[in-house]
């Protein structure tokens, strides 16, 4: 994956009658559809992709190493900058890992609010995914529609914590802030708006013949192979594997709500699209339940002022919009910073499926597939 290492799996092309030359096309790091600074070196036969080599690292900031030199609360700030379109999910993953390490009980109210924030974040991130994915395939209007709704979510977050992108919205043991008065009502209003807007997106895309032709049977991958490649999140669920950390290993308050895990059947780009669209609805369902049932109580558990987890190591994963984001943290019990900090980034894991997915498709499908696996380069490169 990284550097100049090339994929060894050789593509099976029908043996050509004539020798033809391959063309090497360098897509990115400056390319409108690589969602940041991803670079893909494509080997092309005409417009057909024979092989793809993904080159990452253009956005590497050393967050993992940096975290080993920050104290436990400062790291939350760094996690904002990994998946910057879903900062709250990353915050939550980190905070829960530290809580697990310290065996801290988080109050129920905090867990509810965390769930709401997380699901709002999922919708926000999926809005961005839908917009850019549709844009890559040429439907430019969906992009602006999706961003219009994402704006509402950003407003909600702004009202909650004052930030619109990097929220820093969790603390070890709970939350930094309680929800402002009237916020829950606004969230409910947003849910109603979002419901109607989802229908609008689907009118533009779901049964659109061009959309179907562009996404059906593109990048087909079956369940076992998807697991073997380490895919996760909606990308994996599109292949029919019902793996969702929220259901399988419930965290925050997810065990208290009803929701379904949508899965696909064929594992193509269209299924991944449908899965994410359904996840919008399930997220709205969770938010409605959570907002209606927010319990009273404190928002921070019993945490010492100076966080210093006992010696030990732990791994904990949450379901971010992109997939399973896991944190491995080791503490030596003495210093005020982690001894070892490592992230299992879902975007990175999904990205390693990309060469397998694009092989045999056209150049135009490459951008559709990049959109379909929904990556954020901030998280891939860290």
């Amino acid at each position: 994956m990284s550097g100049n290492e090339t994929t060894t799996m050789k593509v099976e092309t029908p043996s050509p009658m004539f020798d033809t030359t391959e063309m090497v096309l360098n897509m990115g790091p400056q390319h409108p559809s690589t969602h940041g600074v991803l670079r893909i070196v494509l080997k092309l036969d005409g417009e057909r992709v024979l092989d793809a080599d993904v080159v990452v690292g253009y956005l590497h900031r050393g967050i993992e190493k940096l975290s080993e030199n920050r104290d436990w609360t400062q790291i939350i700030l760094l996690t904002d900058r990994m998946d910057y379109v879903a900062a709250a999910s990353t915050n939550l993953g980190y905070c829960e890992t530290v809580e697990k390490l310290m065996s801290v009980e988080v109050p129920r109210r905090a867990r509810y609010i965390r769930t709401i924030l997380n699901e709002l974040q999922r919708i926000g991130s999926h809005c961005l995914w839908l917009g850019t994915h549709a844009m890559d395939i040429g439907a430019m209007t969906v992009f602006l529609y999706a961003f219009r709704e994402r704006e509402l979510i950003l407003d909600l977050f702004e009202e909650y914590c004052g930030a619109r992108l990097t929220y820093n919205s969790m603390r070890v043991g709970g939350l930094p802030l309680d929800i402002p008065p009237g916020w829950d009502k606004k969230v409910n209003e947003f849910c109603d708006i979002m419901d109607s807007k989802l229908t609008e997106y689907e009118t533009l895309l779901t049964h659109n013949r061009i959309w179907l032709e562009r996404t059906k049977d593109i990048g087909v991958i079956d369940g076992p192979e998807a697991i073997a490649l380490g895919l996760c999140g909606p990308t994996l669920r599109g292949s029919g594997v019902a793996r969702d950390v929220r259901k399988d290993e419930p965290y925050a308050a997810y065990d208290e709500f009803d929701f379904d895990v949508p899965i696909g059947t064929r594992g193509d780009t269209y299924d991944r699209y449908l899965v994410r669209i359904e996840e919008f609805r399930q997220s709205l369902r969770i938010i409605r339940q959570a907002v209606d049932g927010i319990p009273e109580g404190p928002i921070v558990g019993k945490v010492p002022r100076l966080i210093k987890p006992p010696a030990g190591e732990t791994y904990h994963a949450v379901e971010s919009p992109k997939g399973e984001i896991g944190f491995f943290i080791a503490s030596d019990g003495r210093s005020t910073n982690p001894y070892r900090f490592r992230v299992r980034p879902p975007s990175f894991c999904n990205l390693q499926g990309l060469p397998r997915l694009v092989r045999g498709h056209m150049v135009a499908d490459v951008v559709a597939l990049i959109g379909s696996i929904d990556i954020v380069l901030g998280e891939v490169d860290r």
Partner: protein, 174 residues
């Protein structure tokens, strides 16, 4: 007078671009000159009252055939110039000699025929019962679908065969 100016201008340009076609090193430039040449010849057709032919010339030659040439030139992305390791001088001399012999022959024929009696234009038109000034397209269509129906069908068969042939040649596996 005006006709003469236009004719000589066009003729000079046609010959000039034709020379450029065969003398340019860069094949893409050659193809471009060829397009210009075809367009100029189309203008000549308009002068000759053959508007349909002019339109077909532009449509088929300039719009179709040369595009094919350009495709091939681009696909045949040459790494070495094709004419390096031959002895071009001998070839050139021989070619020019043969060509000038042919030119002399043609010139002789033209001079001979030009000194003969010119065509009785009016009677021919009367015999054909057609008036070239009006509806060039109708006349050609009429002839194509009556007197020349069989050649027309043969030409269509030829095009079909050519199409199949081109597909077979271009397709990598059948």
């Amino acid at each position: 007078m005006a006709e003469a100016i236009v004719f000589y201008g066009l003729a000079a340009l046609i010959l000039g671009f034709a020379v450029l076609v065969i003398s340019t090193r860069n094949t893409v430039h050659s193809a471009l000159y060829l397009v210009v040449n075809f367009l100029l010849v189309a203008m000549l057709y308009v002068m000759l009252g053959a508007e349909f032919l002019a339109a077909i010339q532009v449509l088929v030659y300039a719009g179709g055939i040369v595009v094919l040439y350009l495709f091939v030139v681009m696909l045949v992305n040459l790494k070495r110039p094709p004419e390096t390791h031959q002895d071009p001088r001998r070839q050139t001399r021989l070619g020019l000699a043969l060509a000038s012999a042919l030119l002399a022959e043609l010139a002789a024929i033209i001079v001979y025929s030009a000194t003969g009696e010119s065509a009785p234009a009016a009677t021919a038109a009367a015999a054909a019962g057609a008036d070239i000034a009006g509806g060039n397209v109708e006349q050609i269509g009429m002839l194509l679908y009556t007197n020349y129906l069989i050649p027309f069908e043969v030409a269509s068969m030829l095009l079909l065969v050519a199409m199949i042939g081109a597909i077979v040649l271009a397709k990598r596996e059948l």
